[in-house]
């Protein structure tokens, strides 16, 4: 009984570890690049997953494609270019910095700036009000 439980646990653990049947790269640097790349590419079939953690057929195909491109010595930039040329920028979880994404990237700063302006104006306006509190008036 214990052995069966141990075997079950081991199988769960192993399947969680390796999503594909291919072995990891022997070169740890290549493996790290593979994991980094697949972790930032969106799976278009199940859009809130990266292709690293999706078991959709297309994600497996793309992992295999990235694996073979890495084995061929292609650079990360070439692989990203390969994917965006086919699937568009939407496959990237991190959108590129380009004129059409300036608003997207700068929106948080713009909104923060607007908030600061509004808050400053309110504070300045309040500080110019006459003091109406009786307690304050008596203390003077």
């Amino acid at each position: 009984m214990r052995r069966i439980a141990a075997a079950l646990l081991a199988s769960v653990w192993l399947s969680a570890l390796a999503i594909d049947s291919e072995p990891a790269f022997e070169d740890p640097e290549l493996q790290a690049r593979f994991e980094h790349l697949t972790g930032q590419i969106r799976c278009l079939v199940c859009q809130n997953n990266t292709i690293a953690d999706s078991n959709a057929g297309l994600a497996a195909d793309l992992r295999a494609e990235i694996r073979s491109m890495l084995a061929d010595g292609r650079s990360d930039a070439e692989i990203i270019e390969f994917l965006t040329a086919r699937y568009g920028d939407f496959v990237l979880y991190r959108p590129p910095w380009a004129p059409r994404t300036w608003l997207l990237w700068l929106a948080p700063l713009i909104l923060l700036g607007l908030g600061v302006v509004v808050a400053a104006r309110i504070v300045v306006a309040r500080s110019r009000l006459p003091i109406e509190d009786d307690a304050d008036a008596r203390a003077e």
Partner: protein
């Protein structure tokens, strides 16, 4: 009323407009970067006869359609009757890309439902589909005579899509009078 009291209302109206546009857009339909660009070259074994290859060269020279399908794809069955009609209409030749499929099942499918395709390329590994940016069958591409991708439709074709999106582009690409 002072205009400053209108400000929150304006901000709110802006947000409503922003979200209304956002909700209307379907994020599962990813625009293809291939539109307006040359179609990716390919050459694959034919479905009916693996000895005979089917490739981009077969599509060139006239406005043509490439339909990505598979027997495991439910939407493909849904659009099949319309594909037969399109093939019969003679507006543009229809080619098939059978994506990650079983050859026997695919041949049985065409036998059972009818074969609308001039030729079907058999993409067993899905490698050509990656080049075309395919991520969910059915997908239908429209190419001009030079092999430039004019349009891509995701999800099953409908009569409305065919009439509103495809026919005008096909006629324009052929140079017909509007």
């Amino acid at each position: 009323m002072k205009p400053r009291f209108l400000l929150p209302l304006l901000v709110f109206a802006g947000l409503v407009a922003f979200f209304a546009i956002g909700l209307e857009r379907d994020p599962s339909r990813v625009p293809s970067p291939l539109i307006g660009r040359p179609a990716p070259d390919f050459e694959l074994p034919g479905l009916a006869d693996p000895e005979r290859t089917v490739g981009l060269d077969d599509l060139l020279g006239r406005v043509s359609l490439l339909n990505v399908w598979a027997t495991w794809c439910v939407g493909c069955r849904q659009e099949h009757a319309l594909l037969l009609e399109i093939a019969n209409s003679g507006e543009a030749p229809l080619f098939g890309l059978d994506w990650k499929d079983d050859r026997g099942a695919a041949l049985a499918w065409l036998e059972e439902l009818g074969d609308p395709y001039e030729a079907v390329a058999f993409d067993e590994t899905g490698r050509v589909a990656i080049d075309w940016g395919v991520y969910g069958a059915p997908e239908t591409f429209l190419l001009d005579a030079d092999g430039t991708v004019l349009y891509k439709h995701l999800s099953p074709l409908t009569q409305a899509v065919w009439e509103q999106e495809f026919l005008p582009r096909i006629r324009a690409a052929r140079g017909d009078a509007p």
